[in-house]
Amino acid sequence: MVSLVRLLTASLLLSPALVAAQLNMPRGVTPVSRDIYDLHMEVIWIVCGIMAVVYGVVIYTLIKHRKSKGAVAAKFSENTPLEIIWTIIPMLIITAILIPSIRLLVDMDDFEAADLTVKITGHQWKWQYEYLEHGVGFFSDLSTPMSQVLGVDQKDEWYLLEVDEPLVLPTDRKVRFVVTSNDVIHSWWVPALGIKRDAVPGYVFEAWARIQEPGVYRGQCAELCGVNHGFMPIVVKAVAPDAFDSWIAKRANLPPKVSSDSGWTMATALERGAVLYDQHCGACHKYDGSGMPPTFPALRNSSIATSTDISRHIELVLNGVPGTAMAAYAPQLDDEELAAIITYERNAWEHDTGDLVMPSDIQARRR
């Protein structure tokens, strides 16, 4: 109990001066998000009006018609004209809300004439972005370290809303998003763009944005997608069109990453592996390797991680286990990263097999 209290106070003290809490929906930076905002405000004023009238009558009644003030009950229990009026008025209000809504819905559904198409794929628990016209693609992972989540380190300003590689988009161009998923249902939500699109396996859904101001816009996965649902943020970095063009050209011409075994030592592998393990494996297999059996098997003392047959371990991480929550990591991580993780798993938690997996071992087993 004492440690619990200490933990709570510690996390309170570690929070930096809090960002002023926002009360309303952001107006956003795209035509759609701004239209949504305007519609939202219109409906808010309408319902405020309704509430003012309804509450006004109730409060009047509560004050005026109290028995303690000698009020005598009237006998009426029906009034047809009145009942017709309060059936018609809501219908008119609904119509007033529907007209702009339908117009906006048509606009949101117009995916034609896009200048750029980005494919978004949800994975447990990271986003994959592919610029379909440019052949550029990458994964975007939460970059907040576990030490901040667990309250060991002070939380940054953008705690849980920062990634290793943001989605870079041009301003003033129509970007079309095609959204799908690799495993369970996710939802790609960036409030400032006015986009929330469920990523459903087996489906490709569309959305579009024309960003009008450069800046960094943040969002989160909005559909419960498993253990780390709360830890898969979205960061969109909007830059001027020419800056985008030069960025994407540079990104497309990046030489393919060649892994090399030179300088690959146990120390470097374990150091990188520990960080990468926490980032990619720890949510399910737990930071101490105990897992959550039977859904997420324990790695600690498992035959996979301790037997002499290293190739089984590598195959499993590379290709996953179809029909289970174990994803294939071959497309997500490079040879060095995978070698580091597997080396770490084989030597952490008193496994001490002494096995050092080389990047070339991974390279050799990629299909």
């Binding site: 509450y55 109730v58 509560l62 909005a222 959550m292």
Partner: protein
Amino acid sequence: MISFLIRWTTTTNHKDIGTLYLCTALLNMFVGGAMALGIRAELFVPGLQLVDPNFFNSLTTMHGLIMLFGVIMPVAVGFANWQIPLMIGAPDMALPRMNNMSFWLLPFATLMLVSTLFMDGGAPNFGWTMYAPLSTTYGPPSTDYMIFAVHMLGISSIMGAINIITTIATMRAPGMTWMKLPMFVWTWLVTAFLLIGIMPVLAGAVTMMLFDRNFGTSFFDAAGGGDPLLFQHIFWFFGHPEVYVLALPAFGVISQIIPTFSRKPLFGYRTMVAATLLIGFLSYIVWAHHMFTSGMPYGAQLYFMIATMLIAVPTGMKVFNWITTMFRGSLSFETPMLFAIAFVFMFTFAGCTGVMLAVAPADFQYHDSYFVVAHFHYVLVNGLLFAFFGGVYYWYPKWYGRMYNEGLGKLHFWLSTVSVNLLFFPMHFLGLAGMPRRIPDYSLQFADFNFLASISAFIFGFSQLIFLYNLLVSVRRGEPATDRVWEGAQGLEWTLSSPPPHHSFQTPPRID
């Protein structure tokens, strides 16, 4: 002790079964409430402190399932068991042995549901909506127990519904025509038909889940030619009418309380009946407004938006009728009336945020955010739970022949009302500012309101102990209640003694 057990397990008396339902619901309310407090404790400050994310997901899932299937539904059935025979002048329910069975399925189903928390791999962790494929391919093994529990709960509800329809259709006292039925009985009649319509659909959905999980089918698995969105459509075809299964009995309770303490007959009885029927019908054809962001063709979005907004019309009629019933009445403010008035205020507010959510384009921002959490808690807690609190205080003296403690009742009301609003109102802001629901940790800009909500949640939770204490103590020590109990009470139940005789109406009363 053994005779006590036999008496309560074999009872076929509608009052005993009503009491059993209400006690089970009360117990479950504290179980589900403890889970809610676990959630709020974790969300007290940013960072992970108390529970790991998987257990957090189990907590949100079990909290939802228990509160819906173990609290609000049994409470409503408990009221139906107690009140319908009393209100229509019958000696008991039409099918008393089935009544016994439909109750006794409930505690075992709930037990099985709760037992999943202690199983390997943890309790179901995919939300009460059980979306596939998270619940099928990725669900923990305990999911199969949850499916079995849901089947049992469904059978229990369907049997209860058949019983209620049969009772109302065949056991009304002579002269009790359809248009003389008390409003509470009408709302339950429509509710029972909703239950019979939707519970088999839910059973079908979870059975397909069971087959996908264990027998290699691919109803919801895209890789096998199935469709994850099919699950959502089937689920919400159950799920949306379910909202009205919970809401209509609460509307019925309010329609009984307000006239009593206004000393004036219910305004617009016939439109109230019509509105109830209309809500029942519309509730079947609006389900996909839970799925605007799931991916739907434009035409479907348009249809579901318009149909959903139409529900505001009959619901509005109900609210206006309640208010007009109070208008120029002679109001007094005993605890049941306080809860009823609070219901009118907060349910109207929840209805307004409901209209906002129905606006499909704006729903792209609201959906799956804390705005939705705030909205449906305003409906279910600030609205329906308050209505049922009011109902318990209203009929408790009739049921058990003793008055509850009015001072404690008012204390319970004021503490609950203040804290529940401080708990759920800030969640609207959180949602609009971009906080997704069902997350165990959040970024720093959401810290203030979560802090406030968590503190208020604990105050609200512990305030319910006053309610529990009041009920338990008053059964023996409360002042004896008169037959009429309330000055303005109208209806057959108030013509009986308090508590009513074992077989309620031995000879049917005549209604002119």
